[in-house]
Amino acid sequence: MARISFRALLMAGALALAPVAVGSVAAQAQVLEVAVDASPVGLDPHRATAFSTFQIISGTIYEGLVAVDKDLRVKPGLAESWTVSPDGKTYTFKLRAGMTFHDGSKVEAADVVSTFNRVLSKDIASPLASRLAVLEKAEAADPLTLVLTLKEPSAPLLISAGTIAIVPRSMEAEKEALQRAPIGTGPFKFKEWQPNGFVLLEKNAAYWRSGAPKLDGVKFNIVPESATRQVGLSSGQYSMLPNIDAATALQVKGKPGVKLDETLELAYSFVGVNTSRPPFDNVKVRQAVNYALNRQEIIAAALFGAGVPGGPLSPALKDWALPVADFACYKHDPAKAQALLKEAGFTAPVAITINVLPRQDIRDMAQVVQAQLNKAGFKVELKNQELGQFIQDWRNSNFDMFASTNAGSPDPDDYFFRTFRTGGSTNVFKYSDTKLDGLLDSARAMQSQPERKKAYDEAQRILACDGPIMHVAYGQLFTGLRANVTGFEIIANRSLSSLGDVAVVK
């Protein structure tokens, strides 16, 4: 009896250990397996603040009146065309005929009006509300014609308001519904969300653009461990790792069956300073930091060489950005930095503390910055902070200097206005420059591109050397793909809106 039970035990053990070799691979619909690092916080496009949410929903589930193409230029979205009145205060959008939401209801101008009402409502408290601050009123002239009247001309409006996700009018007063069950107009509709597991989207067969989507679905697997994501892509468990940094990209580069798509980022890494207290209230000290930085060295050390030095605007914005050669202080010159410190009345070493955003590339950058500043008359202490603490200090302007990253946008106004204008909502630097304020205000009201460009050129020159942010680098952004994935276009704003055109060839 004992003999039998011992054998049985061993057998049972062997069975438990044997990998289930049978597998469960059924020939099934074509679903693109995407691996992302973080769970979305909710799926309501008007309430979300997390990038993990936007990555999954924008351009896939939801769309706006206009969209941004891979060259970061505005292209028609739900609106097929639009006109602007000569005084720049009236925008008239013509919607495409015959579009429907995922719930089957028609897309009409009234839906856009109630979407904007929703964004502006106190109850929803949308972080996008400020994008519509300039809006006087929105009206549906007829079911397919939308008229926006502005309080004053606003050049950035087309992108800032135009890309707001349009939702059905039935959602206007719904606070929670969209967080769990999003309803948009995009090429994919929401199917299932297993918290911390995955978000599954399925094909929207009634999508307005013919020929799209090509896939039957997209599954965003939430995989927090970066090694697992890399192995998953190399082995073919996942077909896409969207928006990865250089370090991760290097890991999968050259693996059989893997390809990389890349573009220059809109987001930039930087060190920012508190201009309300010494030593950085003195413009000469800010200039000194610029001279002390060797941006190429930082890029080589912290970004694995995958990036370029940049000024206040991303070089990806070819229509707007000035070349860094235009900024005198971008020349690495520690002696000049020391001299500037002396002129400002400081005796070296000037002790400062840098708060560091807890992200690997930023930590790496901060260490190089520390070494470079120490050589140029500063004495730097790094403070590696936990995210919650970092944000709290950031918001309370409780820092000498901090190392972090800022998101960008296709329009310069979004880079500058809230960050650098006196009293701007993310001007934690307490920076104030009357001339810059004037430029930013007037550029908003300008209609002609050359005129706006002139104002922003001037702004870039002021900000590059005297501003509260020392721009360091614009990194290279990558998306890792299986070789058989076609039709994907990486966009610098990190939107995955081209998923509608993606197919997997067998």
Partner: protein, 316 residues
């Protein structure tokens, strides 16, 4: 006897839970950084009024003692609160994440504890031989290899050997039993291996101890066959320390599950807890840790009951 044990255990449970509730409540609030700041995000437009409004809405503007009393009285009435981020009852979220972890833990226990008994017996019987030495070396390796490393190596290996196998993520058993098992097999092995190593060493030494006892000599003298001696007489006595360890290991398993779930992208309790810490999701974290603690105490209670079954002396 049973009743006294039950009463003692219930008292234990109450004391443990009460102290854990205080510790958890205080600890998460001692972590620097504020739920509200994180909720509102770094790059959105935020005004001090917005922050104040949200703090008041969540109740964070109250003194911490008031917050604790409010929370604990609700818990005693069966209301564990709602998640700060999703607004859903935390119990729903916990139940959702409990299943994957439960399945993983049970499978890992099957691997670890289930195999430890035969492995330990074999080692004890082959004591002193080359096979015994080899197995002991193997157990040291098993003890020292970290689960997460083992997990990644196994993913790499199997991805090369059997690319069509679904290894990552989780599907509920009732949706796709085979898919579920094939996804859980590797993590269960990675999680169970250190336990297997630990427990098989324990069984080996307990068996050797038992085999040296007088009653074994008596059994031999009356002519019981060798296998009968090992499995019926010695093993039964060796099982008592084993069962104690299994109870303690269950606690270890929950800790290990946090790491292994991370590697294998399994949406379990570990991921829930980590996420809740990162988000400062106070109600969710408090409830989860409270329930996990309760689970641990209950497991130890079950272990006590098992003593009764194994060892008649305890019953006396």
């Amino acid at each position: 006897m049973l009743r006294r044990l039950l009463l003692a255990r219930l008292l234990d449970l109450a004391v443990v839970l009460a102290s854990v509730s205080v510790i958890v409540f205080a600890m998460i609030r001692l972590i620097p950084g504020d739920a509200v700041a994180i909720m509102l995000g770094a790059n959105t437009e935020v005004t001090p009024d917005k922050i104040a409004a949200l703090r008041a809405q969540i109740g964070l503007d109250q003194p911490i003692s008031v917050q604790y009393l409010g929370w604990i009285s609700k818990v005693l009435h069966g209301d564990l609160g709602t998640s700060l981020w999703t607004g859903k009852p935390v119990l729903d979220e916990i139940v959702l994440h409990l299943w994957p972890t439960l399945q993983l833990t049970v499978l890992a226990l099957v691997v670890g504890a289930g195999l430890a008994v035969p492995a330990g017996c074999v080692m004890a019987r082959l004591r002193g031989g080359v096979a015994d030495a080899a197995m002991r070396v193997a157990t040291v390796a098993g003890l020292t290899i970290p689960s997460f490393w083992l997990g990644i190596v196994m993913i790499l290996l199997l991805a090369m050997l059997a690319p069509s196998l679904q290894l990552l993520g989780y599907v509920p058993f009732w949706q796709d039993p085979l898919g579920c098992l094939s996804r859980l097999a590797l993590p269960a092995f990675a999680l169970g291996l250190p336990i297997l190593a630990n427990l098989s060493r324990l069984v080996r030494s307990a068996m050797l101890d038992a085999l040296g006892q007088d009653y074994i000599r008596t059994a031999r003298a009356k002519g019981v066959p060798e296998r009968g001696i090992v499995y019926r007489h010695a093993l039964r006595n060796a099982l008592i320390p084993f069962v104690t360890s299994v109870g303690i290991m269950t606690g270890y398993l929950l800790g290990g599950a946090i790491v292994v779930e991370q590697v294998f992208a399994i949406p379990g309790l570990g991921r829930l807890i980590l996420g809740a810490i990162a988000e400062r999701n106070y109600p969710l974290l408090q409830a989860t840790i409270l329930l996990v603690t309760m689970g641990f105490v209950v497991v130890n209670f079950v272990v006590d009951l098992l003593y009764l079954a194994i060892d008649p002396r305890v019953r006396a």
